[in-house]
Amino acid sequence: MPDAKKPPESPSAPSKKESSLARLFTSPAWRSIFRHGYEDSPRNRVLQVSANVWLHLHPSKTRRHGIRYRHTWCAGGLTFLLYLVTVVTGVVLMFYYRPVQEYAYWDVKYLDFDVPFGFLMRNMHRWAAHGMVLFIWLHMLRVFMTGSYKPPREFNWVVGVNLLVLTLLLSFTGYLLPWDQLAIWAVTVGTNMARATPLLGHQGPFGPQLGMTARYDARSFLTAGTLVGAPTLLRFYVLHCIFIPIIASILMILHFWRIRKDGGISGPL
């Protein structure tokens, strides 16, 4: 915590009386990284946010009600935090996991039992992904309940819905990767639905009439074949680790930028 009695900072060399901490904060090295003083002044409070590439996602001042947990439930921010957790732990998993039918299951077993902290990385990845699904629903619920999709935030709500779909797809594609019984059958149940797509599925309304077959329809497009097999594993791996995260990240940047452009957190008035 900043020391209130500390004399105002000066760019000149610190005097003998100052504590070593204060000397650190005024040292040239420190000042080359953080372009503002450390003591608690309004100017520094503003710079703390606006001169920091991560924090300046935020405006330097926020409307009073917007910082209350009961207004936002922090649900959007926590969704983002959980996403970051899955990215970090996911990259660790990628060092050990091979999306090949013969290896996938045993690579995950290896992670669980032999890799130092491997079980923790996998557990955190899994549970953070589930948590993200939960928190994104909570976030949507609160945005709806505060009517925050109303003008001028209509488009950001649409961006949000796209993020919701991508989050569910991320979770779903990841579900297959351990290549155990749970994985292939859950994905089988899920992708089987695509058979029934109207027009585009070989068992859907008007599908057969349009020439859809089991080898060539919406489902075989998803699973890369007529059943959930080795090609599906590779396809879901690429979608899960590369394609969807990139799109989701781009949309998140857009989402955050729009929050500020739309006037910050919504509120009465």
């Binding site: 503003v46 703390q48 946010v49 924090l55 935020h58 405006p59 330097s60 001042k61 926020t62 409307r63 009073r64 917007g66 910082i67 947990y69 922090c74 926590l78 935090l81 959980l82 957790v85 995950v108 669980d112 923790l120 557990n123 955190m124 549970w127 953070a128 589930h130 948590g131 629903w137 709806f144 309940m145 505060t146 009517g147 925050s148 999709y149 109303k150 003008p151 488009f155 819905v161 779909v165 569910l168 979770s171 290549w179 155990d180 019984q181 994985a183 059958w185 859950a186 089988t188 149940v189 899920g190 089987n192 029934a196 109207p198 599925g201 859907g204 008007f206 059943l227 919504s266 008035l269």
Partner: protein, 272 residues
């Protein structure tokens, strides 16, 4: 924030001793500037929430292992085969609807329906604060859909479904041979239609009337100012989405009470 309130609070106290505590607080609040510094107030709140979440996740991940079953075996189908929990609301819909609706059209309509909300809800009230009174219809349809048709169905799917997708109480023995007596009939048959073509026509009339006649009659009979403001296009979109949501409930109730399988049957093409 408590500390930033304090000096103003005590200042007012000295001036107007007689004002009640509630009024004083309100007065103090209204005199505060509308904005506060993001650092430290917002960043602190986020930091605390983030720490709690990460701590909870760590403890959870150390104590509970992510599921890992036997290696995948395409020849051994588990019964029941469940989708991931967040899709079980849709799998549950398979009890009442054919896959083209439960698995494809319903989720697509949910996504599209969510996206159009800001463009069809033209009620300016309730923008940025919690209120039930000022937007009962919007709140009601959304919360009913989210809680009753999504969350509750997920709970049923996760905890109450066993072999053959039959209903089991949690912890009850999963008898793989459980047989549930079903005398499913189609609604047109119940209404007396006996020929295939007759049933088809009755079914189409029922579905068509449900989606178009009810909203149209409602539009003509109850000419309210808000309807004019909404305009025919928005009104049409809202009523289609609303009656689809309600239709799911209607079909569920018809199934539970009259064991209705389909409301409309067009053989080899589409069943609803």
């Amino acid at each position: 924030m408590a500390e930033s309130l304090a000096p103003i609070d005590s200042g007012l106290q000295a001036e107007e001793i007689k004002v009640t505590a509630g009024k004083r607080r309100a007065a103090a609040l209204s005199e505060l500037p509308d904005k506060v510094h993001t650092w430290p107030y917002l960043v602190r709140a986020e930091f605390i929430a983030g720490c709690v979440l990460i701590l909870g996740l760590l403890i959870w991940s150390i104590t509970i292992d992510a599921p890992m079953e036997e290696p995948a075996n395409p020849t051994k189908t588990p019964n029941p085969s469940k989708a991931p929990w967040y899709f079980l609301g849709l799998q549950e819909m398979l009890v009442y609807f054919d896959p083209w609706f439960a698995g494809v059209v319903a989720p697509s309509l949910i996504i599209v329906g969510l996206m159009v909300i800001p463009y069809v809800d033209i009620n300016p009230k309730g923008n940025g604060y919690y209120t039930w009174k000022e937007r009962k219809f919007a709140m009601g349809t959304f919360l009913f859909g989210f809680l009753a048709l999504w969350c509750v169905q997920i709970v049923i799917g996760v905890f109450f479904r066993g072999p053959g997708w039959n209903f089991f109480l949690p912890g009850a023995y999963w008898d793989p041979h459980k047989v549930v007596a079903m005398t499913n009939v189609d609604l047109p048959y119940l209404l007396g239609a006996r020929t295939e073509i007759g049933q088809m026509l009755v079914g189409m009339a029922l579905v068509g009337a449900y989606f178009s006649l009810i909203p149209a009659v409602w539009w003509l009979l109850r000419d309210r100012p808000w309807m004019r403001e909404l305009g025919a296009v928005r009104y049409g979109i809202v009523s289609f989405l609303f009656f689809t949501e309600l239709g799911i409930v209607v079909k569920m109730v018809l199934r539970w009470t009259l064991a209705v399988k389909y409301i409309m049957v067009v053989p080899n093409v589409i069943n609803i």
